[in-house]
């Protein structure tokens, strides 16, 4: 035990990125990736709460078959805004912009991202996009569904389509800039010795995610822009009344939006790889397969968008191609699931909260992904398309998958981010509640979907009520389960137990600096001599450099290379 104390300096006394400077200005003008990550964390949580509030209204309305709580116009706005906010303002930026922003430089041993100013800019762009979108919501809302299909959105809707579209357009650039920053950083700023195959899988996942952000987002940007102009000028290329083809819009929309679902899940997979390896103290099984499967998902993810158009009057032959490719893209996901499972074999598995979330992820993602295969199977999708089966499919992946990964990751790195521990007991309890509530919410929706209940329905035939009551009950448990971490995480920022530099005793670079880290992350540039997930006795997984009140001059000559 004694051995550790020499490396673990208590947090409060030292200078770190949080107390390095004070005042609002020092936060709003910061170029430190860690502070920007916190700015993102705050704003993303805000949008998540709004999106969750909309979800609660959806579930309340659907408690009874009649449309009695909300008017149909309001209901349409509620689910549209739930979708828009959750997708564009919560899930897409969630892991990359908070955990990714915080950890990419730390994990590769860099002082910051390659373009700190652009990083800050991306947050302001996100904020601007958010404000424009909130304006659209307050001014009267949007009712097109998050998919904005023409010609409803261009000609028939009486809602604030242009403002909402503009919000998404602006927000897209924040995503592009984040992706650009990550790609350049990972290419050019790795510490000496940090070769590609020593990178933690979290980095591989973010690299793959960034590729999609770079290559896909511009297409949705131009598509939304053309849509907005089409609506304003009453002329264009999508509306059949103007000689256009509405299916072209769908192609362009999904060219981005399908790959975007991998923007949403890949970072989550990166988090899970970290959690599974680190909480079982095992190197990941089949490292290179897990790493390359991320890239494979990013590349093949661009080839399958047409599976959203199986019943949209797309040519049946194109349907054939897209169906085939959709099945092919499932394989890299399968590889990941199997490798995670195999990693646990003969491990030393702890039951800390992050690990509970990780285990939940694997199970729920499997269900979500496998039900994606139902939808990729042409004949079955004809029946299931636009029913609650689809709704259940994507919530299983996005909530059961990514949201759990996000929560797991937040708990895992919380001591590094804040310098304080979260309360473990509450953590485990809420993870359990979330898991139960989640399944109760969305499992019945699969059944309702196959029974034929269409989505985006404000009122529905009474025979579907059973499933909806179950679902609404589950949603309230889920909401309660999410409320708990919200409270205790905030509480712990002030009152939590002080965290050590390496509270979980792990080899990753981010654990070899203080908690919270100093502004430039490491006192000296680390030199990496160990592979990712190469576990060693705790006293060998040393902190790089030495942290104290006075600069550690004597250390800088011979960096502690911490043989793992």
């Amino acid at each position: 035990m004694k051995a550790f104390e020499t490396f673990e300096t208590p947090t409060a006394a030292r200078v770190n990125y949080i107390n390095a400077q004070y005042g609002l200005k020092s936060w709003l003008l910061t170029k430190d990736h860690k502070r920007i990550a916190l700015l993102y964390l705050g704003s993303i949580s805000f949008f998540f709460l709004i999106g969750g509030l909309y979800a609660m209204f959806i579930r309340l309305e659907l408690l009874t078959p009649q449309g009695d709580l909300l008017s149909s116009t309001t209901y349409n706005k509620v689910f549209t805004q739930h979708g828009i906010i959750m997708i564009f303002f919560f899930l897409i930026p969630s892991i990359p912009a908070t955990l990714g922003n915080f950890l990419v430089p730390l994990m590769i041993g860099a002082k910051d991202l390659a373009f700190p100013r652009i990083n800050l800019l991306s947050w302001y762009i996100y904020l601007l996009g958010g404000i424009v979108t909130i304006y659209a919501l307050l001014a009267g809302g949007v009712d097109t569904g998050w998919t904005f299909y023409v010609p409803y959105s261009t000609t028939f809707s009486n809602s604030y389509v242009v403002a909402a579209g503009l919000g998404i357009f602006i927000n897209g650039f924040s995503s592009i800039l984040t992706g650009l920053n990550f790609i350049v950083t990972i290419h050019t700023m790795r510490a000496p010795g940090m070769t590609w195959f020593r990178l933690p899988l979290f980095i591989w996942a973010h690299y793959a995610t960034s590729l999609i952000m770079i290559l896909g987002t511009p297409v949705i940007a131009i598509t939304i822009l053309l849509l907005a102009f089409e609506r304003l000028a009453k002329v264009g290329i999508f509306d059949p009344a103007a000689g256009g083809d509405p299916v072209l819009f769908q192609h362009l929309f999904w060219f981005y939006s399908h790959p975007a679902v991998y923007i949403m899940v890949l970072p989550g997979m990166g988090v899970i790889s970290e959690l599974i390896a680190n909480f079982s103290r095992k190197n990941i099984f089949g490292y290179s397969f897990v790493a390359f499967s991320s890239l494979a998902i990013a590349v093949f993810g661009f080839l399958v968008w047409g599976h959203h158009l199986f019943v949209a009057s797309q040519s049946v032959y194109a349907g054939l191609i897209f169906s085939f490719l959709s099945f092919a893209v499932a394989i890299p996901s399968a590889i990941k699931v199997f490798n995670w499972t195999a990693t646990l074999y003969k491990g030393s598995i702890s039951y800390d909260t992050p690990m509970l979330y990780a285990l939940g992820f694997i199970g729920l993602f499997t269900i979500g992904g496998m039900t994606g295969l139902f939808l990729a199977a042409l004949a079955v999708d004809v029946h299931l398309s636009d029913t609650y089966f689809v709704v259940a499919h994507f919530h299983y992946i996005m909530v059961g998958g990514t949201l759990l990964a996000y929560l797991g990751g937040l708990h895992y790195w919380w001591p590094k981010i804040t310098g304080r521990m979260y309360p473990e007991g509450w953590g485990r309890f809420s993870a359990l509640v979330v898991f139960v509530g989640f399944n109760l919410t969305f499992l019945p929706q699969f059944v309702a979907g196959y029974m034929g209940m269409p989505r985006r329905y404000h009122a529905y035939p009474p025979e579907f009520q059973v499933f909806n009551v179950l679902s609404s009950a589950g949603a309230s448990i889920l909401g309660f389960g999410l409320l708990i971490p919200l409270i205790y995480l905030m509480w712990s920022m002030r009152y939590g137990k002080l965290a050590e530099a390496n509270p979980w005793h792990l080899p990753g670079l981010e654990w070899r600096t203080a908690s919270p880290p100093p502004t430039e992350n490491f006192v000296i540039t680390p030199r990496v001599t160990w592979d990712a997930y190469e576990f060693a006795p705790a006293e060998e997984m040393r902190v790089v450099g030495k942290f104290g009140a006075e600069p550690a001059m004597e250390q800088s000559a011979s960096p502690i290379e911490g043989k793992p």
């Binding site: 860099a110 002082k111 910051d112 991202l113 390659a114 373009f115 700190p116 592009i176 650009l180 920053n181 790609i183 350049v184 950083t185 290419h187 050019t188 700023m189 770079i214 290559l215 896909g216 987002t217 511009p218 297409v219 940007a221 131009i222 598509t223 053309l226 102009f229 000028a233 009453k234 002329v235 264009g236 290329i237 103007a242 000689g243 256009g244 083809d245 072209l248 362009l252 430039e520 540039t525």
Partner: protein, 236 residues
Amino acid sequence: MAEGLAMEHEASHPALQHHFENMEQQREAGTLGMWVFLVTEIMFFGGMFFAYTLYRNQYPEAFASASNHLDLTLGTVNTMVLILSSFTMAMAVYFAQTGKRRGQLIGLTLTLVLGLTFLGIKAVEYHQKYVDKLIPGKLFPGRPFDSSSVHLLPGAAPKNVEMFYWIYFAMTGMHAIHMIIGAGLLSVILFFAWRGKYGPEYHSPVEITGLYWHFVDIVWIFLFPLLYLLGRHLSH
């Protein structure tokens, strides 16, 4: 004082940012960043190029009719102006690399002037379209789109002529916005070049702006034949 600071990176250049190890890394990051950005630009224009391709194949007569009405002379002149500006930009980068301040200033100024010339000519063309009532939709009160000034080839529907102009304005407009941003960048670079900031060790801002400018040129290299030329032969 300066020596003290240089302790961490030996021979530290004043333009070196704190989070980079050395100038080489900083330059590499900057260039790579611009290339990655250009990738996003290619995809951005790609969506519009696709829409063009699709509808040109669907309404060849209408697109040819509308295209024939564009001013080929101005289009050609503009193409040459832009290519020349790309050349002067390349020369500016050359003079930055070789550390010749005067050359840089001349190159950048010429590039800027040629860019503005391009925009000016474009404005003249846009004005002609306005006069001919060829602005799609009803953007200007009293001047809704009216295809009567266009000679319609057999089989061309006015509605689809309007669609051509919509695509024309969307694409050239987006291109012009990029030119304006480029001109802004050039002005900033010109200012620093005048202050003598760029030389053999440090010139990546010039280089990066150059990459952007050439990219905008390339977009036009495609826009010009697609919008102005294809279909000319049908009018005899």
